[in-house]
């Protein structure tokens, strides 16, 4: 892997260090403030930063040192909470898991809010439609017995393995907001909701798989998936999203025939 271009000619931020790790980067941010204008605009920020830092660190630098009005979501900053999914250089990623050196910092780095959802301000979008679809698939354990269980619900390692991949979802919406069908018609459940339905449909302890399949058999359910694999590419947790959707499709078909 090629080392990033080091800006040796530029002024080193800390004199005394012969080989400064700092490079000059340009961040091109999509700014939107409904109190100022109903149009979103691009704004460039140029500064020096260590290329081994993450995009989130650069955003922090902008917010803390350059322009305090920049608005974005982040919480844990370590790729678990799923707050800072954004469109970086045209691809959905978590800002806290993307190193600057990996996204060609010699060119301006574009950062936009994720697509397909209403932008509230700068990089913050309204996640409500996303979570509405998530709630619609009933992402919780449902059993038919009405009495309180008297013993643990045991499960074999193989049964646990069946849905292991889809338990990794952190609900960052990177997949759903990379789906072209969702961009155009938000009534589509979207990959994330299907992934979380998959997690319970294939759980041997759960007894509402049938109900969830019926929900996803909807006109705007799994059949709207066009298998473009955008979701699998976008997932920061490496979930094989399109495969999970295909498994739900197969379960629906084998249930009918």
């Amino acid at each position: 892997m090629a080392t990033p271009v080091l800006d040796k000619a530029g002024p080193a931020p800390e004199p005394g260090f012969a080989d400064s790790p700092y490079i000059t980067v340009t961040f091109r941010l999509r700014r939107f403030n409904p109190e100022v204008s109903d149009q979103a605009t691009w704004e460039d920020f140029q500064f020096e930063i260590d290329p081994k830092e993450r995009v989130l660190d650069a955003l922090h630098k902008i917010k803390w040192d350059l322009d305090g009005t920049l608005t974005f979501r982040r919480s844990c900053a370590h790729g678990i909470c799923g707050s800072d999914a954004m469109r970086i250089n045209g691809k959905n990623r978590l800002a806290c898991k993307t190193l600057i050196k990996d996204i060609s910092p010699e060119k301006p780095i574009t950062v936009e809010p994720i697509k397909g959802m209403t932008v509230l301000k700068d990089l913050v979008v309204d996640m409500e439609p996303f979570f509405q679809a998530y709630r619609d698939v009933m992402p919780f354990l449902i059993t038919k017995e009405t009495n309180e269980p008297t013993r643990e619900r045991l499960q074999s390692a193989e049964d646990r393995e069946r849905f292991d991949d889809t338990t990794k979802c952190i609900l960052c919406a990177a997949c759903t907001s990379s789906c072209p069908v969702f961009w155009n018609d938000g009534q589509y459940f979207g990959p994330a909701a299907i992934v979380n339905a998959h997690r319970f449909i294939f759980d041997s302890r759960d007894e509402a798989g049938e109900q969830r399949l019926e929900i996803l058999n909807d006109r705007d359910g799994v059949w709207r998936c066009r298998t473009t694999f955008n979701c699998t590419d976008a997932c920061p947790r490496g979930i094989e999203v399109t495969k999970a959707i295909a498994e739900v499709k197969r379960a629906l078909i084998t249930r009918r025939f």
């Binding site: 700014r31 109190e35 204008s37 322009d67 018609d185």
Partner: protein, 160 residues
């Protein structure tokens, strides 16, 4: 209260002079995907499932039918130069080729129609656009299927 105080507000530099202020905000943009009373109701039934399955199965059958059709019509036994009224009349004298062509007509038309239906659903944003495009699509499909079936069933080589 000096005049400079009002200009140095908490809002940082934003490109372009604004007509909107905190007291006069820009019009609120409704979330386009909010669940409202107008949101389409959840559908029950297996139409989309059967549609999806039909696309796969008809696709496999069409590969055989169409490639066979192209081979016979354009490649084997003299190629395209042999095709004429007599050639078509000779083929449609056999029920086998009648069934072949009828199957190809129906499957290709329904496959294409369903494919375009999903394209319209995916790309047409307004409900009215969808309605008109799909109406046009279904009309054209029904017309072509009926006309083609009519010709295959009522073809009479003895003109005049």
């Amino acid at each position: 209260m000096s005049t400079t105080e009002s200009t140095t507000s908490g809002i940082g530099p934003v490109e372009g002079a604004s007509v909107y202020t905190v007291d006069n905000p820009a019009p609120l943009i409704e979330p386009p995907r909010k669940r409202t009373p107008k949101t389409p109701k959840a559908t029950r039934g297996n139409f989309e499932l059967y549609g999806w399955l039909f696309m796969r199965l008809s696709g496999v059958v069409l590969v055989v039918l169409v490639i066979g059709h192209l081979l016979i019509q354009l490649v084997l036994d003299g190629g395209v130069s042999k095709i004429g009224f007599a050639f078509v009349a000779g083929r449609w004298a056999s029920p086998f080729w009648q069934v072949w062509d009828l199957l190809m007509l129906w499957l290709a038309m329904l496959h294409g129609c369903n494919g375009l239906r999903t394209v319209v659903n995916d790309y047409a944003e307004r409900a009215n656009t969808r309605l008109w495009l799909k109406g046009l699509l279904y009309t054209a499909t029904v017309f072509t299927i009926l006309l083609g079936s009519l010709v295959i069933f009522t073809f009479d080589p003895n003109i005049r």
